[in-house]
């Protein structure tokens, strides 16, 4: 995507964050308590565990116009529910590799593991991801009509 200058970014960037209640939400809380500063584009949705995340939630967010989607959970082997993030790890990776095939920029989706005490890491993750999304620019969404499209032949 072409990078847009700050002057052209009329609407604010919205990044949706799915954070697991135990580790990552705690980590974000720790970052707050320690007064670490990070960009304010992230809108957090608290979920019990990353194992609860349906990849379709990420897809729906992107289609509806979210500029970025961040998923964060407990480190593997440290899941509060023991195995939730093991499921999540497979689903998130499949989704990450699938998005570019349909024409979505996979950089707009990121999944990480941040534990409750890692406030500093949380700050880094949010800052880094926000910078990536700002660089990519607002999500253009889907074209509502298509006048011309490339043809692909497989016969």
């Amino acid at each position: 995507m072409s990078s847009k200058s700050d002057a052209k970014q009329e609407r604010e960037i919205k990044i949706v964050g799915f954070l697991c209640n135990w580790c990552s939400y705690g980590g974000a809380d720790t970052a707050g308590v320690c007064r670490f500063r990070q960009p304010t584009d992230l809108r957090i949705i608290r979920i019990p565990c990353t194992g609860r995340i349906d990849p379709l939630m990420i897809v729906k967010s992107l289609i509806q116009g979210a500029d970025g989607v961040l998923v964060s959970g407990c480190h593997p082997n440290d899941c509060h529910y023991a195995v939730g993030n093991f499921y999540a790890r497979r689903r998130m990776e499949v989704l990450k590799r699938f998005l570019p095939y349909m024409g979505f920029q996979s950089e707009r989706f990121r999944y990480t593991w941040v534990s409750a005490s890692e406030g500093q890491i949380w700050q880094q993750v949010v800052t880094d991801f926000s910078e990536t999304i700002h660089r990519l620019g607002p999500n253009p969404g889907l074209h509502q009509t298509v006048d011309s499209a490339p043809a692909v032949s497989w016969f």
Partner: protein, 323 residues
């Protein structure tokens, strides 16, 4: 598939007393169509056909239209005719326990390819004049009221058949016909997926938007899929939570296909029915084929091969690294 009608009828006649019913095919409304057929009595057996027009995946009825899990009171089984691709769907149903292996009698039919009705129209200018079509080896023999024409079979078969890796049923109680050499090796790259990936990212989006724009949200792809067993209670039609609204815009159509494809991640067996039934000709199977390729690359797994395997997104491995 070469014509196996007689051999199939003979076999079913011999075994029918042990079977409650047999799922097969019978001639349809014109020489280019057959239709699924339930053989319920001995006199029905002579209506069976099995040839290049036997496109339907009959395993779809096992999980959705009958109880194929519990044994019958009299111990009789449900017979089902499967081509190579269909047999994988059957194994996938067994994997997910929607069908019990003991409840079905599997009649396997090795297959060289089934005809794509749309491609036939391009080959024969006036399809209304067709009297019969038959696959003989690598050729398609078409009889019209003007005589006989022969075409290379590859010009008439479905897209999925051109890249077939499993022409021989992976599960069967009997095999009717000789095994067929696969067109592609099991780990071969999917040529149609590669064709889409050759486009730039922007072009890929435009390609899919252009294709999905035609979607009329008829739900045929979902209903034809053997593995979409939630059919009457599907989240695409529920309003609580409201995944999809009634709007027919690009966002909704795109989301519909993402839901369908992702719900089949790690489960789809590439039987191609979704693409065949689409009334507006969208290559929907192509979306799922990419997810299958990802799972094969990531987890070395293919759905519908091993009846004991658990679909990978329904399980986990604590020792996985690199993710």
């Amino acid at each position: 598939m070469d014509d196996k009608t007689n051999a199939l009828r003979e076999h079913v006649k011999g075994i029918f007393s042990n079977l409650e019913l047999v799922l097969g095919w019978e001639p349809g409304y014109d020489p280019l169509h057959t239709r699924p057929f339930y053989v319920r009595t001995e006199s029905d057996i002579d209506r069976l056909t099995a040839n290049c027009l036997s496109v339907h995946n009959l395993t779809r009825y096992l999980a959705k239209s009958m109880n194929a899990v519990d044994p019958a009171a009299d111990g009789r089984k449900i017979g089902v005719c499967v081509k190579g691709c269909d047999s994988r769907s059957l194994v996938a149903l067994i994997q997910e326990k929607f069908v019990s292996r003991d409840r079905v009698y599997v009649i396997g039919l090795p297959c060289r390819g089934t005809l794509d009705a749309r491609r036939i129209r391009a080959l024969v200018p006036d399809p209304a004049r067709i009297r019969s079509v038959n696959a003989e080896g690598d050729e398609l023999v078409v009889e019209t009221d003007q005589g006989i024409s022969r075409f290379a079979l590859d010009r008439a078969i479905a897209r999925k058949c051109l890249q077939c890796r499993y022409p021989n049923p992976v599960i069967h109680d009997v095999l009717i016909g000789d095994p067929v050499t696969p067109r592609l090796k099991i780990d071969a790259e999917n040529p149609s997926v590669a064709a889409v990936e050759a486009l730039s990212l922007e072009d890929r989006l435009l390609f899919w938007e252009n294709q999905l724009d035609r979607c009329i949200r008829c739900f045929a792809c979902r209903n034809a899929c053997p593995l979409c067993v939630c059919q009457n209670h599907c989240i695409m039609e529920t309003r609580m939570p409201k995944w999809l609204t009634q709007y027919r815009n690009m966002n909704e159509k795109f989301m519909f296909h993402m839901i369908h494809a992702l719900h089949l991640a790690g489960r789809c067996t590439e039987c191609g029915e979704c693409e065949r039934v689409c009334p507006v000709g969208i290559p929907v199977a192509l979306i799922k084929e990419k997810i299958n390729a990802i799972i094969y690359e990531m987890l070395d797994y293919e759905s519908g091969i091993d009846p004991e395997a658990v679909p990978p997104l329904l399980t986990f491995s604590p020792k996985e690294t690199g993710i």
